[in-house]
């Protein structure tokens, strides 16, 4: 089985979010970039298929050269090789188009992505990729088993879960549940050394077609101070929630 894991390169979850150039660009000064947490879950699942079922695992990112350390980290975790499509990722559709080229040329059986990137929270790339390729697709995946060319997938739905079955090829947008937190791997020294020698292929973009663009960013208005209520006076809280906030 050939697996492709789509890796989005995002600011670490603790990053301060600021903007520059008249609020038109994300300010990456001092920001640590990491593998998108959802992608880390699916990458870990891919490692399981590699170790238990002999799958090969390629990781891919659409981005400029600055994303290579993130791809190397994925290689250090255990992916076999990496592809970077050399273009600034600004629009989900453009990214999906580039990924579709990679998938067509590579003949992958299983394409794993995350449910969303935690920076722009688009939640669009995996679904668009599936629609472009007309591949089966499951979103918000919380469980995945593959036997031969058949997959059993669990997906989270509002207030429960749905179990689906599909043939390969298949595209998955995963989240926690596909593996657990404790299964996530931190690259060790040996992994990091090996990653340096693993192939990282740079491809030039093919399309450049965009459908959306960000004009500017804003930060939420400053919050007014929290009203403190005495622990002995919960009636006051109920009163405020009822008469002031009008939420109960």
């Amino acid at each position: 089985m050939k697996i492709l894991v789509c890796i989005s390169h995002v600011p670490d979850t603790t990053s301060k979010i600021n903007f520059t150039e008249n609020d038109s660009k994300f300010d990456s000064t001092g920001v640590q970039y990491v593998i998108n947490p959802y992608d880390e879950f699916v990458l870990t699942r891919a490692m399981w298929f590699k170790e238990k079922q002999g799958a090969t695992v390629t990781v891919v990112n659409v981005g400029n050269v600055g994303t290579e350390p993130t791809l190397r980290k994925a290689l250090a975790i255990g992916a076999d090789d990496a592809i970077r499509v050399n273009t600034e990722a600004t629009d989900g559709f453009a990214v999906a188009k580039e990924l579709a080229e990679v998938v067509k040329n590579g003949g992958y059986d299983l394409i794993l992505a995350g449910k969303e990137s935690i920076d722009y929270n688009g939640g669009m790339v995996p679904g668009m990729l599936a629609a472009i390729l007309d591949y089966n697709f499951v979103n918000a995946c919380i469980g995945l088993e593959v036997e031969g060319d058949k997959a059993i997938i669990s997906r989270e739905i509002d207030g429960g879960k749905e179990v689906l079955s599909s043939n390969l090829p298949l595209i998955i947008a995963g989240q926690k549940g596909i593996v657990e937190e404790k299964d996530l791997r931190i690259p060790n020294m040996r992994g990091i050394m090996m990653a340096r020698k693993k192939p990282l292929t740079v491809l030039e973009p093919t399309t450049g077609e965009v459908t959306t663009s960000i004009v500017s960013f804003e930060k939420p208005a400053a919050k007014s101070a929290c009203k403190m209520i005495d622990a002995e006076n919960v009636d006051e809280l109920i009163n405020l929630l009822h008469n002031e906030a009008k939420v109960i």
């Binding site: 935690i118 459908t211 009822h242």
Partner: protein, 320 residues
């Protein structure tokens, strides 16, 4: 041209979000000087949509659409959009909506923007404000294609009554094939889900152990709320993963979020920033959560929560 809204049903009944997207769609249509058309699949009472401005309802009654399949549904929405010459398609942010929307966009060669929180700030160029960076910021995004797909962030626009005397047309879409099969659906019955809840009561590690969740559930019960938890709580197995909220868990966009024994780490706040009113109960006056809260009580949950339950019961019986 028109604005098309997809109004999701569950077992024949509209979800609350269906009324929210209809309210929103009506206003967008007004901005554009056109009409709103609402697509309803297997709904038992379409007339409920008139109250929120549905000028025209496309009614689809089809047994093969009883089970949701994203590809098939996306194709039905595409057909409806083509039939109605819709340039704007509006979808909710439920699990099915988020699954569908990117597929609909590609089917229609449309640009797609998720997490939209307000009416377009400009219709030409078409610009909308959306949440990004896990609600730590907003981005004003232009969609440059002729057809546009938006998914509306839950509880961001609200329900806006706008009674119209609309019309219903039956619509019989072609149902495409899909070999992705739904084998079973397991619903945790009888509980309010985090996605649908107006109020969410959430517990953190400050509650010490799973055995202490009785009071969280009782508080939720009194308020008709859903229960949630912080990430370590679900990692420790005290609560199911489906309750984990935050940056890497579920987003919460309720009217009221009550956090008990949660410190308010940045990753937790990222998931609940969009809740309108936040109440924090924590023993530590320095807990970062107080900075993000509207109302706070410095106190021991084991003392405050039972009192709050008792007083809320009194309040409910007086206001029933």
């Amino acid at each position: 041209m028109s604005v098309l809204v997809y109004a999701e049903t569950s077992e024949g009944k509209f979800k609350k979000s269906a009324f929210e997207v209809t309210s929103y769609g009506k206003k967008v249509a007004e901005q554009l000087g056109t009409n709103v058309v609402v697509l309803a699949i297997n709904s038992s009472d379409n007339s409920l949509l008139y109250k929120y401005g549905a000028e025209k309802i496309l009614n689809v009654a089809n047994d093969t659409l009883k089970t949701f399949n994203a590809k098939i549904y996306a194709n039905v929405i595409k057909q409806a959009a083509e039939r109605e010459k819709s340039e704007i398609i509006i979808i909710d942010s439920n699990s099915n909506g988020l699954y569908l929307a990117p597929l609909v966009a590609v089917n229609l060669n449309a640009g797609y923007t998720s997490n939209v929180i307000a009416l377009p700030t400009s219709t030409s160029p078409f610009t909308v404000k959306r949440k990004s960076f896990s609600s730590k910021a907003f981005s004003n995004t232009q969609i440059t294609t002729e057809v546009k797909v938006l998914s509306l962030s839950k509880n961001s626009f609200g329900l806006v009554e706008n009674e119209v005397s609309g019309s219903i047309e039956n619509f019989e879409p072609v149902v495409v094939e899909s070999n992705l099969k739904s084998d079973s659906i397991q619903q945790t019955s009888g509980k309010v889900t985090i996605a649908d809840a107006d109020i969410v009561v959430s517990g953190g590690r400050g509650l010490k152990g799973p055995e202490n969740w009785g009071m969280i559930e009782e508080l939720a019960d009194v308020l008709g709320a859903a229960t949630a938890c912080s990430k370590p709580v679900s990692d420790l197995g005290w609560r199911p993963h489906s309750e984990h909220v935050g940056q890497t868990g579920k987003p919460v966009a309720s009217n009221l979020y009550i956090a008990v024994g949660i410190s308010g780490a940045i990753q937790h706040l990222a998931g609940i920033n969009s809740s309108k009113v936040k109440v924090v109960i924590n023993t530590d006056p320095e807990a970062p959560f107080f900075k993000a809260a509207d109302y706070g009580i410095v106190g021991d949950a084991f003392n405050v929560v039972p009192k709050l339950i008792e007083k809320l019961k009194e309040f409910k019986s007086n206001n029933a």
